[in-house]
């Protein structure tokens, strides 16, 4: 009984997803791209790096990367603390 209810809910959800995917905007034409055009035009003169993605990651959104590095560090601390009692 539970499986039937779950199955019906899953089918409804999945068909919603499919319909919304088909009705999305056309693939390959971004709607708003002013910020990214600014990055592409000015990244070389402002940060001096050829790779625009790297300059976004480490310069324009450096705070984001700091949080991400902290998450990775915390995950390592969690894994080590989880296996702390396991000797050898």
């Amino acid at each position: 009984m539970k499986k039937i209810i779950f199955g019906i809910a899953f089918i409804i959800f999945f068909s919603f997803l499919i319909v919304s995917a088909i009705n999305m905007r056309t693939f390959g034409e971004p709607t708003y791209s002013e910020m990214d055009d600014y990055f592409i035009e000015n990244a070389q003169s402002e940060t001096g790096a050829n790779n625009v993605v790297t300059s976004v990651v480490f310069d324009y959104r450096g705070f984001d990367t700091l949080g991400e590095a902290t998450v990775l560090f915390t995950a390592v601390v969690g894994v080590v603390a989880l296996f702390r009692g396991v000797k050898k």
Binding site: A49, S55, F63, V76, V80
Partner: protein
């Protein structure tokens, strides 16, 4: 994990150094070519995993030390935070080395160019810091899980 056959070990001996050099190449050229700290660190971490599964977790303890790796991880994170704070005269994470003429301070040629290693300001240093952190984080995770799996299997058999 038990060690694998002699064929796997020989191939690992051939390939291991090349994978690590390729990973450090990706880290060092992060501001010119596709790649950066995260990707290069992941490549070096996969080399550690290859070493671990071919030599077994007991044998690989001789040349992969967990303490040294976790030291490098803390060092990378602290270097990243210090680099972020040192631009604090203007804003947090300000690129104070770019276009200044000093370290990594040459101005890039606007438009398509073959690339100059001495550009990018603080970005190559941050690539190195994050690369150190990511590769040692992956190494610590893989080593810890492998030694814990060894213990679990031993207890099951007895």
């Amino acid at each position: 994990m038990k060690e694998m056959s002699r064929i796997v070990k020989t191939v690992t001996n051939f390939v291991y150094g090349f994978i690590i050099i390729f990973g450090f190449y990706i880290i060092a050229h992060g501001h010119l070519t596709p790649g950066g700290g995260f990707q290069g660190g992941a490549v070096v971490g996969s080399a550690f995993a290859l070493l671990l599964i071919s030599y077994g977790s007991l044998n690989s303890k001789k040349f992969l030390k967990k303490d040294i790796l976790s030291l490098f991880e803390g060092f990378g994170l602290i270097l990243f935070i210090v680099l972020g704070f040192s631009g604090l005269g203007i804003t947090f994470f300000y690129n104070f080395l770019a276009n200044s003429g000093g370290w990594f301070g040459n101005a890039a040629v606007i438009g398509v160019n073959p690339g100059n290693m001495n550009t990018g300001g603080v970005i190559p240093l941050m690539n190195i810091a994050v690369g150190l952190e990511v590769l040692s984080a992956f190494g610590v995770i893989v080593l810890t899980m492998a030694s814990a799996a060894e213990f679990t299997k031993k207890k099951e058999n007895s």
